[in-house]
């Protein structure tokens, strides 16, 4: 919980807890589902950070010889073995290694893009809420224009025009999702700007910047943090979908969405054949996005229904 009281640093803020309108002290208690989900997310973040260092092979390494050093006739879609724990993909590359390398690409791109969306969205959203008037009107209409596109369509059109590169993907997802962050930040900002404590701060003669940094942002922080999780899921799905369509991360860089796409033909061999090659990265995406969703669900269930209404 963020500190919502306005005290100068030398006053012990705990004296305010006795006041009848002191903010309730809530400690985040996760259900067991929530705890498992946190573990899953932590696991993938760990893999994203150290994956390339601990992976058995390089992401672009083709397995050509078996462990004894004899050449393999057909290294594509090999079944799991001690040499390749999850088998190999359509070109004979180790799937486990590619998933570990791909974690960095998929999670890294999505995370940076979501951060970008938040920096743009919150700045513009709070600015619109605080300034009001035509600033608000102009920013809101711009956002309406972005939101009148299906996200994937905007992605397709921009990629058709500019081609696909990692910075392009980050910028694209960042701008698209900034529009929805803007709406939430603006709604929260407008709610907060009419609260008594903001009026009190104004009456005290506090400057605009003080009000934004000490009143608006801390009070909007918790709902925005929860929303960050949901937005991250959307961005992961968006980037993976583009990669899956062959329009996102380009080879030889491994990425979960493009791994599913490239190994699709392995599906036809069934579970006893190469089905693991597209299945494993798909499961990686699903486990990550479901886990984040469950954590968000857990937190918003505790924070009460008021959150859910703002996060549409």
């Amino acid at each position: 919980m963020t500190d919502t009281t306005n005290t100068s640093p030398d006053v012990d803020s705990s004296i305010y807890d006795e006041l009848p309108d002191a903010p309730p002290k809530t400690r985040l208690r996760l259900s067991w589902v929530g705890k498992i989900s946190v573990a899953v997310v932590a696991f993938w973040v760990f893999i994203a950070i150290v994956g390339p260092y601990i992976a058995p092979y390089h992401e672009a390494f083709f397995i050509e010889d078996d462990l004894a050093g004899n050449p393999i006739d057909d290294p594509s879609f090999m079944l799991p073995s001690s040499q390749a724990w999850l088998g190999t993909d359509y070109l004979g590359r180790d799937i486990l290694s590619r998933i570990m390398w791909g974690a960095r690409t998929t999670i890294g791109i999505s995370f940076i893009a979501t951060l970008l969306a938040y920096s743009i969205g919150i700045t513009m959203g709070i600015a619109a809420a605080v300034a009001g008037g035509w600033t608000d009107a102009a920013l809101s209409r711009m956002v309406d224009a972005v939101l009148s596109f299906p996200n994937i369509m905007l992605g397709l059109i921009v990629i058709a025009a500019f081609g696909s590169s990692i910075p392009m993907l980050i910028l694209l997802a960042g701008v698209i999702y900034a529009a929805s962050v803007f709406r939430i930040a603006r709604a929260l900002g407008q709610d907060i700007m009419v609260q008594d404590y903001v009026e009190a701060a104004r009456a005290r003669g506090e400057g605009l910047w003080w009000i934004i940094s000490k009143e608006v942002l801390p009070n909007a922080a918790m709902p925005l943090a929860t929303d960050f999780g949901l937005r991250l899921v959307f961005v992961i799905l968006f980037i993976s979908t583009l990669s899956f369509l062959g329009l996102g991360v380009q080879p030889p860089i491994s990425d979960w969405g493009s791994m599913v796409r490239a190994n699709l033909q392995g599906l036809g061999n069934g579970l006893g054949g190469g089905a693991l090659a597209p299945l494993a990265p798909a499961l990686a995406i699903a486990s990550l996005t479901i886990a984040i969703n469950l954590i968000v669900d857990d937190i918003s269930a505790q924070a009460g229904g008021s959150l859910a209404g703002k996060m549409s």
Binding site: A145, S148, M153, I285, A286
Partner: protein, 315 residues
Amino acid sequence: MWQMVLRRILIGLVLIWVVSVFIFILTQVLPGDAAQIRLGQQATPESLAALRKELGLDRSLPVQYFSWIGNLLIGNLGISAAGGATIESLIGNRIGNTVFMTAIVTLISVPLSVVLGLIAAMFPGRLIDRVITSGTLGLIAVPDFFVAIFLILFLAVQLGWVPAVSYLSGSEGFWKSVYVLALPIGTLVIVVSAQMIRMTRAGILNVMGSPYIEMAILKGVPRKRIILRHALLNAIGPIVNVIALNLAYLVSGVVVIETIFAYPGLAKLMVDGVQTRDIPLVQACGMIFCTTYVVLILIADIASIVSNPRLRHPK
């Protein structure tokens, strides 16, 4: 009320116009224009200039925009940069396929979602509700292609019940087509329904919190009767809204599903166009999809205005 509806329609028209400007600008800012792409790197400046003149690329941007949008309105969609066929001919035989598939998906998913959403709302917190809500939450959180590859793996590859690739020769009868399309239709129904079920449930539970329902509970009306007679009728507006919104989500869903099943629809055509950077084709398909999207959202808004009795008699 009709004033509000009229206002919404006007806003919708403005949005479609904004979308067209966006699409045009986004696809025109890149350095290599259509002439460059068609002639390739070795083109001489003279032949480039000649082709630019022929394609009208030497005119100012606003003039180009108006000629593009004007041609679009009379159904003249331009010429594909790859191959040089007219875009109408490329789109013509694809658009029917996409409409056919989405129509069937709509026919199945709408009643399915309303019924499942109702059941979940009838027994909140009970086992069946928890199965439905957690199942749909899981489905919303995963990519569309995840659902698709699971269905392909189990229904087509392991069990062999349905074909994995949705190729239509055009001569199949209706039921044969549905059989060939079983997997893409199934995937889309699952993906779209998950969202609709949750929103239907939320809509009904929302109505259940209102005072007149409390009154009905207090006078002893059974819960099922309250939901079917009182809550459902008042939730119709929100539900129609949800349905239109989700059909708009279908627009994104078809892009993935047509690609994964190699279904010869409009979305597959557009994705191929993006890959070959066939800008005129992408512009045309983008306009069709985005206009459909804006229109569906417009219908959703109008439905919620019309179904709200408070707006029907303005003070």
